[in-house]
Symmetry: C2
Subunit: 458 residues, 2 copies
């Protein structure tokens, strides 16, 4: 059956699609900051309204102790039709540092073929592409050729804290043949990709206290522990000279990279020079004995994400501060466990601390790494859909980021995951000037449409 009617709808409505995405992007649904809780809720309501407007029959907002979950479904009468569970998140990272944005983060604008806004690629622009193909099918055919369940949450950027329990409580409702997620990147511009592995995350915060109040560095300096110096000493001991993490037992459960996978990685058209230029760093740096792709996809890390203490305003203040703090996170690979690693890191931080300071460690949200079996019919259908739209073979990749909820769905629903990202590596997600290429937004809609066709019972 020709899909000319749907293709025609997609063309006619293209401008409206972008306008609607701008509306969604203009809501500052920052889940990490309590001050924006109202905006996060407003975003959930906007989405629910929008799903109803495009003709989705079942649309529900589920309250949690945190931010709400938007659930929707549109079912076909066919018994043979497979059921897909689409996951996305409507919450976004904080936009700071604000002064580095060329246009305000919540006033989306297109420059040079790119949509600039916080959340453009992570993840509003990506899941919204699927909603637009759903709209096209419902508007032209009255139904999709597959059963589609949608979960769009508002806590991905804070570790999907309440989604896990919600998924466990609604496992029957969510039953599906596969999980579909578009919250990652293509391997390179024009190279469609299926991501079969993701890194996990363990996130900790350390506070080091020396004196119990700020002291004058002249009157006390030299005779009391300085918490910044002490914190620096601790952090400096977290890696050895080969860039390996020194936490005892850190690598115990790391799955070695198989020779075959190593070859696959090496064959990918990875442009190391372009990656280097994109970072803007004076040089690349990482664990000895591994290629850049191996370091990013299959090796665990320990990075400081933030540090603060003492006087940080302009000018000179001769204070000997009371406390110093750092945020630390580990990216994890199969088969590391986030809780086990957080525990080991915490123990090591305490062990490294001098007895002249007090150390407090708290653990933020974490998430396990995942790896998906490439060999199943829905992965095959997604591969065909991607290859058709982009007119070249899709490649299999892994990702360095973390989507903790993937592991939860996988555990609770026992279904494979298809990670089909429309973003690009240079989308600057989590950074100022996050963007999503307009071309990729529209390609995402076409891939989504093609996927429903590939999965339609013949």
């Amino acid at each position: 059956m020709s899909d000319a009617d749907i293709q025609n709808y997609l063309e006619t409505e293209a401008d409206d699609f972008l306008e609607e995405l701008f509306e969604l992007l203009s809501i500052p649904s920052i889940s990490t900051d309590e001050a924006y809780a109202g905006e996060v809720e407003r975003c959930a309501e906007w989405l629910a309204d929008h799903l109803r407007e495009i003709g989705v029959e079942t649309v529900e907002i589920h309250s949690t102790d945190g931010h709400p979950i938007v659930y929707a479904e549109t079912l076909t009468g066919s018994e043979e039709a497979p059921t897909l569970l689409l996951y996305g998140h409507y919450d976004v990272q904080p936009p700071e540092p604000l002064d580095e944005w060329k246009s305000p983060p919540f006033e989306p604008e297109v420059r040079d073929g790119k949509i600039f806004a916080r959340g453009a690629t992570d993840d509003k622009g990506q899941f919204f592409a699927h909603l637009k193909s759903v709209e096209a099918w419902l508007a032209t055919r009255g139904e999709l050729p597959v059963n589609l369940k949608m979960v769009i949450e508002g806590e991905e950027e804070v570790g999907s804290e309440h989604l896990t329990e919600w998924v466990e409580d609604h496992s029957d409702k969510l039953a599906a043949d596969a999980l579909l997620i578009s919250d990652s990147s293509m391997f390179a511009p024009g190279i469609p990709s299926i991501t079969y592995g993701l890194r996990g995350l363990a996130y900790l915060e350390i506070s080091v206290r020396g004196p119990d109040h700020d002291l004058h560095s002249g009157l006390f300096g030299g005779a009391v522990p300085n918490p910044i110096n002490e914190l620096a000493r601790i952090i400096s001991q977290l890696h050895d000279d080969d860039g390996r993490v020194t936490v005892p037992g850190f690598y115990d459960d790391v799955r070695p990279i198989e020779p075959e996978e190593r070859e696959d990685f090496a064959e990918l058209p990875f442009d190391e020079e372009a990656f280097f230029v994109e970072t803007g760093a004076p040089a690349l740096k990482g664990e000895k004995g591994f290629s850049t792709l191996e370091r990013l996809w299959a090796r665990p890390t320990l990075d400081c994400n933030g540090i603060w203490g003492g006087y940080t305003a302009p000018g000179a203040k001769t204070v000997l501060p009371s406390t110093a703090h750092a945020k630390l996170s580990c990216r994890l690979v199969p088969d590391q466990d986030a809780d086990v690693i957080a525990d080991k890191v915490e123990k090591w931080l305490r062990e490294l601390a001098d007895e002249a300071v007090e150390v407090d460690v708290s653990v933020h949200h974490g998430g396990p790494p995942v790896i998906t079996d490439r060999d199943n019919p829905i992965v095959d259908a997604a591969t065909r859909a991607l290859s058709k739209v982009w007119d070249r073979d899709a490649v299999f990749t892994r990702g360095g980021g973390t989507i903790p909820i993937v592991a939860t769905f996988s555990r609770v629903l026992e279904i494979p995951t298809v990670l089909m990202g429309f973003g690009l590596e240079d989308d600057r997600l989590h950074s100022p000037n996050e963007k999503f290429n307009v071309e990729n937004f529209y390609a995402g809609i076409r891939v989504s449409h093609q996927l429903w066709q590939e999965l339609a019972p013949s």
Copy 2:
């Protein structure tokens, strides 16, 4: 000649003295922050007005490229009368962190016999004590028995940047027999002290840059240099395991502590336990092989005064930051030179940096250490004045802090310095809840009055 008239005046006016000090303390003359430049100027004008009100004949405000200098003098007709140059500063440190103050820093209040306000002891309360004894003499006798010149500047907390040139330009006007400063602490409550040595200061700021913009720690972590980890590694290498500074040549010009001085230090009634309790630290920590007093007075240090980089707000953000920064300062002892040390530290910071990051170092104001000859008649007179008011022998101490201008006066005017502090070690100068004991304020006034008497030609 009896001084009953003056004593009577001091008693009668005591309450007014405190009220006037409160007025002075309520002006937020924060010299380190450009935003407060107007308040610094207002403070200079308030002081000049006040000096005129109490009867000082010559009162001048000297503009500089920075904050103004208040100059005043009151001369006696006697050719035999010695000339003293009183130095003080009306500028104050920033009050941050504000939330740790029990009462607002610029709304002075007395609690439990202590004046709480930013600048209470450093240095408004201390130099103001001298102005009150001047007032008493002028009100009762019409003149002082000594020639008194006063320089009260507004840039002490930013390194007295413009005072040096001003002193050089006005060396004839400032000619005197000795420099008198009350901007330090007594050795202990009730133990009057003359301070004959001060540490100097070298202050630097380091910025470490990895990527040229913030990156997502999942997509880039493991393959690029993390500026926080790199900065921590640099800082951690600034001390060896014995607490010695590793900067090459750092100790080259350090004057060894003479055995006799070591004995003097050891004989002082230093309460190490009280010092320890006052810091609130879990333990004391410093350079091996030296006592606490030696570490504070006669050994140089290197402390971090501030550090910042990446995400520092509540919650977790998985950013791999572009830059990390730290403020570092060294306390210096005779015969170290601030410029030479800043230069050596800068070179060492650059040498310690990994080639995968870019390092930028800037040098803030510094100041040389000083040491004064105890053997001269004005030091003797000050010792007698202190001993009479406190009814016990004054002791000789050194100080860990820095008053850069002391070295300038000493070099340009070639006069000895009498450092006669009325503060206490627990005054929390530069920290929240800075205070000055009411008792010490009034004792300071009486010591000042006594000193003019001791120096009066017989």
